[in-house]
């Protein structure tokens, strides 16, 4: 093996360390009392405590936020699927000038600064009496989930071999049956990855939630960020526990999303 290869590998190992260590450290701090965290020389050996995690999990605000986050994320993802997948299929299978424009319109929604959407929406939801509600959050997030679902599902549908759809049509399937019974199941593996992406995007969203919720509809990122303001001192142990809790759902989807990236790129060359 060449020396340059060894250096290269060592460098990559260092990079993996830079990725993992801060997260590992945060997880470790979640089990420390504040006195073990606030030391000038970092402590690796300490008496673990479950108080931080117990505190976070016992808070009503955290449980409410967890419920809010789950309901809001999942509902808007489902709306994204229901409206996004058929649209993506139409764009993928009926390419013409119009669908091209539609695809660009969907992409350009991502150009919009979230502030520009959140400020007027705050006023709109206030006027409608829906401010700080599930309905308002789900409607707002649906804009994101529908567009991201379309954007990621178009290539997934394009990868479905046309021959299969033709064969089904010869067998007497109508266009809708081809979509439901052929294209959807064949593309499903990739589509699940796309759906997981839209879930992570919504689960992690902060700015819009910060502007559109103040109480009962607060999502988990907002409540976690407020943990830094409990009392006078920053309760780092509790904050770290909250950060870990918030990060678990996206990380659970890691395998799924990695598989999604593989299928998005590997098929390009075929």
């Amino acid at each position: 093996m060449k020396a340059s290869h060894i250096i290269g590998k060592a460098f990559l190992a260092l990079m993996a360390f830079i990725v993992l260590f801060p997260i590992f450290w945060t997880a470790l701090n979640a089990f420390k009392v504040n006195a073990d965290i606030l030391v000038t020389t970092p402590k690796f050996v300490f008496e673990p405590t479950f108080d931080n995690i117990a505190y976070v999990l016992s808070r009503n605000s955290v449980m409410a936020a967890l419920t809010n986050s789950l309901v809001i994320s999942l509902t808007s993802v489902v709306i994204g699927i229901a409206l996004g997948l058929p649209a993506a299929y139409a764009v993928a299978r009926y390419p013409n000038r119009w669908t091209e424009e539609i695809q660009f319109f969907v992409l350009s929604l991502r150009f919009l600064p979230p502030v520009a959407v959140a400020i007027p929406l705050m006023v709109i939801w206030l006027n409608l009496g829906l401010y700080d509600s599930w309905t308002a959050m789900i409607a707002t997030y649906s804009l994101l989930t529908i567009s991201i679902t379309i954007w990621l599902a178009v290539p997934a549908f394009q990868q479905v071999p046309k021959a299969i759809e033709e064969a089904a049509r010869v067998d007497g399937y109508g266009a809708y049956a081809v979509f439901l019974k052929i294209a959807l199941p064949v593309a499903m593996k990739t589509l699940i990855g796309a759906i997981a992406f839209s879930f992570v995007l919504i689960w992690n969203e902060f700015l819009i939630a910060l502007m559109l919720t103040t109480g009962k509809a607060k999502t988990l990122p907002i409540v976690a960020s407020e943990m830094s303001q409990v009392g006078m001192d920053v309760p780092w142990g509790i904050l770290n526990a909250a950060v870990i809790l918030l990060s678990i759902p996206p990380l659970l989807l890691l395998g799924l999303l990695s598989g999604f990236m593989n299928s998005m790129f590997s098929n390009k060359s075929r």
Binding site: T26, F111, S258, M261
Partner: protein
């Protein structure tokens, strides 16, 4: 009409209508509010024409925010692309497929973390007295190292977290792009004793230039979402040195003054700038 003719309409029309309502109603509203003098405190408001926009032009904090956002875009996009290409090529050249897959899994972690989590993880790591990153500096010099409250380093410290989230993610994409290239030209070049840098400069770069440019553009769009990191790590400080446009709009509209209309006019300018610039670049790059 048979089902093949109706399908595009039934599948597209409802979705596009919903998207248009969800996008254009707020945008129209934002433009409408920006011509008023609406605040969070008083329910009454009246139209004041272009006054908010005129005020913006003499607002030094707004100009500062424009400049900070511009710097933020340049720093995050270039650093992410350099890291992504460097690490992607390095993985492609030195790792076997199995280790590559493991590495990809590791490198995907930062981007999946909520921005809020990443911001907290690193703001504690950067803590001047107790942080793990600043520990070596403290141990050697005996002095605290304050990256986030030093005006010279704060923006870079926040941008580093953005790089940490996106650089590794894009490295995985670059690796996948390299893997998707036809292997024959690379093998032929290797048989001719081409050096590694020559292979990448003369064979892979020309083939990957277009996707890499698109990737940089995607990063530029995503970099507009700097708010979460800035809000958690510095709140725009020290002073206004890390105050990006969305941070400033937020603090005008919510934290300090509650000047919803003024914040709206800023949001409208941001929107026009980004939509015009990115539409122009995107259409040019894609054709």
């Amino acid at each position: 009409m048979n089902s093949r003719q109706t399908l595009p309409y039934t599948f597209l029309v409802p979705t596009i209508l919903v998207l248009m309502v969800l996008a254009f109603v707020p945008l129209g509203y934002a433009i409408n509010i920006s011509f008023q003098d609406r605040t969070l405190i008083s329910p009454n408001s009246s139209y004041i024409g272009f006054e908010n926009y005129i005020d913006l032009f003499s607002d030094r904090r707004f100009k500062n925010a424009l400049w900070v956002s511009f710097k933020w875009e340049i720093i995050t996009v270039t650093s992410t692309m350099i890291a992504a290409v460097g690490l992607g090529v390095l993985m492609f050249e030195t790792l076997k497929p199995r280790t590559r897959n493991l590495m990809c899994l590791v490198f995907l972690i930062p981007v999946l973390l909520p921005r809020v989590s990443a911001a907290f993880v690193w703001s504690f790591a950067f803590h001047p007295l107790y942080g793990i990153v600043t520990y070596p500096y403290r141990a050697i010099t005996g002095k605290p190292l304050d990256l986030l409250t030093n005006p010279d380093t704060a923006l870079f410290a926040v941008a580093f977290v953005d790089l940490w989230q996106w650089g590794f993610f894009f490295a995985v994409i670059v690796l996948k792009l390299l893997e998707s290239l036809p292997p024959q030209p690379l093998e032929a070049a290797r048989l001719d004793y081409a050096k590694t840098w020559q292979i990448h400069a003369f064979i892979t770069w020309p083939m990957l230039k277009a996707p890499l440019v698109s990737l940089a553009l995607v990063k530029a769009i995503e970099s507009l979402r700097s708010f979460d990191l800035v809000y958690i790590m510095t709140r725009g400080g020290p002073g206004i040195t890390t105050e990006t446009l969305d941070m400033y709009a937020f603090s005008q509209g919510f934290i300090e003054a509650g000047k919803i209309s003024y914040a709206s006019s800023m949001a409208v300018i941001m929107m026009v700038l980004t939509v015009v610039i990115f539409t122009f670049i995107w259409k040019r790059v894609r054709t």
